[in-house]
């Protein structure tokens, strides 16, 4: 077996182990929330019998360890449980499976993240590489100042400015990004234009600056001087001699920012009333809808682990020392 394949398997195993640890942390921190689940969900008016029945149904009287393993076991088979919401003090149960709640929201979030990534990643790479190529020039400084300004501005403020300019003054895009499951693709793209633009402005700076720094860091290497003395043009030096050695740090930063697009954009979702998973989780926390909170937290953790794993693998396969051992 190729050693790289072995390394990837090892990382994958570590990723699963990490996910396991995270699930334990999620479960125990939620268990530590104050108050009684039953009363919190069913409301003050619930009768004692209803609450007791509810507790019994959920097995809340079982020890935490038992409940944890029941939950993990269910999750492992794809069963995320049943939402607490939809129950009422009267005992009427209109609750839905967590999968049905989380699924469409997750899809929306991934759609917005994907659209943003498709704009932001190439843009950041292009800006980073050109800034490195013309380092110290007016262009370099302009790119740096602009991206730093956008990253330093709170994202809700960026969002409102974009709404002001592109929805209020010039009514080109909708200020509300309310999409439904059956919204056609073109319409969807049109509606997420402003949130995607906001997120692009927020994440481009970090990726662009890391690309620039990774490249410039390599320019002091003896092999770059050698390339110059072999007559390579500045463009060849950046693209052919520096970039192939810079993928690992760049991939790490891209992974970090893509993960942020999935797990950290609740503020932008709220501003544009976009039905993403961030809003779902915040709502679930306020209503004590524990199965939904746990499912969201697990998805977030999985996203981080998966994206970092991909960044690791990119780092390995772009390093000839690891890909072609002696």
């Amino acid at each position: 077996m190729h050693p790289v394949f072995k390394t990837v398997l090892k990382r994958l195993g570590l990723g699963v182990a990490t996910l396991f640890v995270v699930s334990a942390i999620i479960f125990s921190s939620i268990s530590m929330l104050p108050g009684d689940f039953g009363e919190a969900v069913l409301g003050q008016a619930a009768t004692e019998e209803t609450v007791a029945a509810f507790r019994d149904e959920l097995g809340l009287d079982e020890p935490a360890v038992v409940r944890y393993f029941q939950w993990v076991g269910a999750v492992a088979t794809g069963d995320l449980g049943t939402s607490f919401s939809g129950r009422s003090s009267s005992g009427v149960d209109r609750s839905r499976p967590v999968v049905d709640l989380v699924g469409p929201r997750l899809w929306n979030t991934l759609f917005l993240a994907g659209v943003t990534a498709m704009i932001a990643v190439p843009l950041a790479l292009l800006l980073g590489l050109t800034a490195a190529l013309y380092r110290g020039s007016v262009y370099d400084r302009a790119v740096n100042v602009t991206t730093l300004t956008t990253i330093a501005t709170p994202e809700f403020f960026v969002a409102y400015i974009l709404i002001l300019v592109f929805a209020a003054i010039n009514p080109w895009f909708p200020s509300l990004a309310n999409v439904q499951a059956d919204t056609p693709l073109a319409e969807r793209l049109y509606r997420v234009a402003l949130p995607a633009m906001t997120l692009t402005l927020v994440i481009v700076a970090h990726m662009m600056r890391m690309t620039r720094a990774a490249i410039i860091n390599l320019l002091a290497s003896p092999y770059i001087e050698m390339a110059r003395l072999k007559g390579a043009t500045p463009r060849e030096i950046i693209l052919r001699h520096a970039l192939p050695n810079a993928w690992a740090p760049i991939a790490t930063v891209i992974a970090f920012n893509l993960a942020y697009l999935v797990v950290g954009v609740v503020v932008v979702e709220v501003v544009f009333v976009y039905p993403g998973i961030g809003q779902l989780m915040v709502d679930a926390v306020t209503t004590r809808d524990i199965p939904v909170v746990q499912a969201c937290a697990l998805i977030f953790a999985g996203t981080y682990i998966l994206l970092n794993l991909i960044a690791d693998i990119i780092g390995i396969i772009t390093n000839p020392r690891l890909l072609h051992p002696r």
């Binding site: 290497s221 003896p222 092999y223 001087e225 050698m226 390339a227 110059r228 003395l229 072999k230 007559g231 390579a232 043009t233 001699h241 192939p244 050695n245 772009t318 390093n319 000839p320 020392r321 072609h324 002696r326």
Partner: protein
């Protein structure tokens, strides 16, 4: 050799930027080179030889600038051309071979791609096809598996092989001029011989002019038709190689030539301070020492010689306890030393001190000389306050420095001074055994001589025992009483200096000794003839 002039550098002046201002590095040097001629450029570090060599391409490093002079290469003034104008010449008509091949190859590309990069860019087709030609060059440079080695990545071949691939890379477009910038300095002597021979062969074969930069006189004697000596950015003298070697005119050149004259009469003793008995050691699962046994007489110098990877430094790590051995034992004054550093008593630690190759990295850059030398005085001997300062000042005198160094930081010292401070730090612990790990290999020859003389004097006065690890046979001749030859983690032989350095030799000792370049310009030719015959 034809008489037509290829390169004519006149009154070259180059400034370098450091400490917030510009300093002159090259102060008006002239250099003329004819087609097919090889010029050796020698001098100590800081003499400006590398800067001048690169200037022959019209290139100055970042942080340097050409402030005057003209560089006529085949009639074109490189000094007046922009980088975009010079670029078509670089890598095609003028090629560069760097000191560290390992760092100068791009780790991301295969060797063959890098070999033909400049040739392909210029659309040249030496011998029909650049790739096929590269394979022929690999073959001419005696690289193993010339047809397949190009498919390898830089980390997959050895340093000596990389250096030859780089020579092939330089030769691929058939340049008029190659700048060799210390190309064999980082190599072992046995490897150096092969690389030198193949470089010389190929330069002769294509009648390429070359500038060969080195600090090693014996190496330059094998390569160059003429030698130019530089010091402090100025020319000291230039002459034909044979004349320069036999009759140098300037006192500075003579002093360079005389360094190798240091000699010490050998002595031995039956009183053993250290016995390494059948030691095995491993890094993880890789076994690096096999049944190593070394004895050290008290108050004498035992030199451990061998190529990189032969286990010299690992042996030192076992003796100091940094790497516990997996078998065998180390006796110090007849008592076995615990293998683990943490199990050794403070007295045991105190009696064995170490001096390192890189004085730079062996000192805390934020501590003053007084703190650096004072620390072992406090730690081992309990000196405090004024008593400590007085002792530091004594130690400074012992290493031929004065109290004005007390408050200086390592960054304010020269390379030789730094190494002296490291020696003083070792002496401060009042050791019996000092392990010197390549302590002079990072220093210029004249500075080396000073350090070696100091160590010899201290040994005579205080009866220290030195375990001297080195790959430099000249150093060994200068300072040792006994010699241990190591190869691939085993001891090849141990004996008195005169026994080891004179025949009959084991095969490996013979190879090692015969590979050390001598000042005779015919040495390489004779050696190759002898090995071929």
């Amino acid at each position: 050799m034809t008489s037509d002039l290829l390169l004519d550098m006149r009154d070259i002046r180059i400034d370098g930027f450091s400490d917030e201002r510009w300093h002159p590095i090259i102060k008006g040097v002239n250099l003329q080179l004819r087609r097919g001629e090889v010029m050796g450029l020698i001098g100590e570090s800081g003499a400006g030889k590398s800067t001048l060599g690169k200037a022959a391409m019209g290139y100055t490093q970042p942080g340097c600038k050409l402030t005057g002079g003209s560089i006529l290469f085949d009639g074109m003034d490189l000094a007046a051309m922009s980088e975009a104008q010079k670029r078509p010449l670089w890598g095609t008509r003028i090629a560069y071979v760097a000191q560290s091949a390992a760092a100068s190859f791009n780790p991301a590309h295969r060797l063959i791609e890098q070999t033909v990069e400049a040739t392909n860019r210029a659309g040249l087709s030496p011998n029909g096809n650049p790739r096929e030609d590269a394979v022929e060059l690999y073959d001419a440079l005696q690289l193993p598996n010339p047809s397949s080695i190009g498919a390898r990545y830089p980390h997959q071949v050895s340093g000596g092989q990389l250096q030859r691939v780089m020579t092939a890379m330089a030769m691929s477009p058939r340049p008029d001029l190659i700048i060799f910038d210390e190309p064999t300095t980082a190599l072992d002597v046995t490897t150096q011989v092969e690389v030198l021979a193949s470089m010389r062969k190929i330069v002769e074969e294509f009648n390429t002019a070359a500038i060969y930069i080195t600090h090693d006189l014996a190496v330059v004697a094998q390569m160059a038709d003429v030698i130019k000596v530089l010091r402090y950015g100025e020319e000291v003298e230039e002459a034909e190689t044979r004349k320069m070697l036999t009759a140098p005119e300037m006192p500075y050149t003579k002093s360079l030539w005389s360094v190798r004259g240091l000699e010490k009469p050998e002595e031995t003793s039956d009183d053993l301070i250290l016995e390494v008995k059948g030691v095995d050691a491993a890094y993880g699962v890789v076994k690096v020492l096999h049944d190593v046994s070394i004895t050290m007489p008290r108050g004498k110098t035992v030199a451990v010689v061998g190529e990189s990877g032969s286990g010299k430094s690992t042996t030192a790590r076992v003796i100091t306890g940094l790497l516990p051995q997996s078998g065998g034992e180390v006796l110090f004054n007849g008592e076995p030393l615990p293998p683990q550093l943490k199990n050794r008593s403070r007295a045991q630690l105190q009696k064995i001190q170490m001096i390192y190759q890189m004085a730079d990295t062996a000192m805390n850059p934020k501590q003053t000389v007084g703190e650096i030398i004072g620390r072992p005085l406090e730690f081992y001997l309990g000196f405090k306050g004024r008593a400590r300062d007085a002792r530091v000042s004594e130690l400074l005198q012992m290493i031929e420095l004065d109290d004005s160094f007390f408050d200086r930081l390592p960054s304010e010292l020269s390379g030789g001074q730094k190494q002296r401070i490291c020696i003083a730090r070792a002496l401060a612990a009042e050791p019996e055994l000092i392990i010197c790990d390549e302590v002079t290999s990072a220093l210029d020859q004249i500075v080396q001589e000073g350090i070696l003389k100091l160590l010899l004097r201290l040994q005579k006065e205080f009866n220290y025992s030195y375990l001297f690890i080195t790959h430099d046979i000249a150093t060994v001749k200068a300072i040792s009483d006994e010699i241990v030859v190591m190869l691939e983690g085993k001891v090849v032989e141990q004996g008195l200096k005169s026994d080891v350095l004179e025949p009959p030799y084991p095969d490996y000792t013979q190879l090692l000794l015969s590979s050390v370049p001598e000042m005779d310009p015919d040495w390489l030719t004779n050696l190759l003839d002898a090995r071929a015959g």
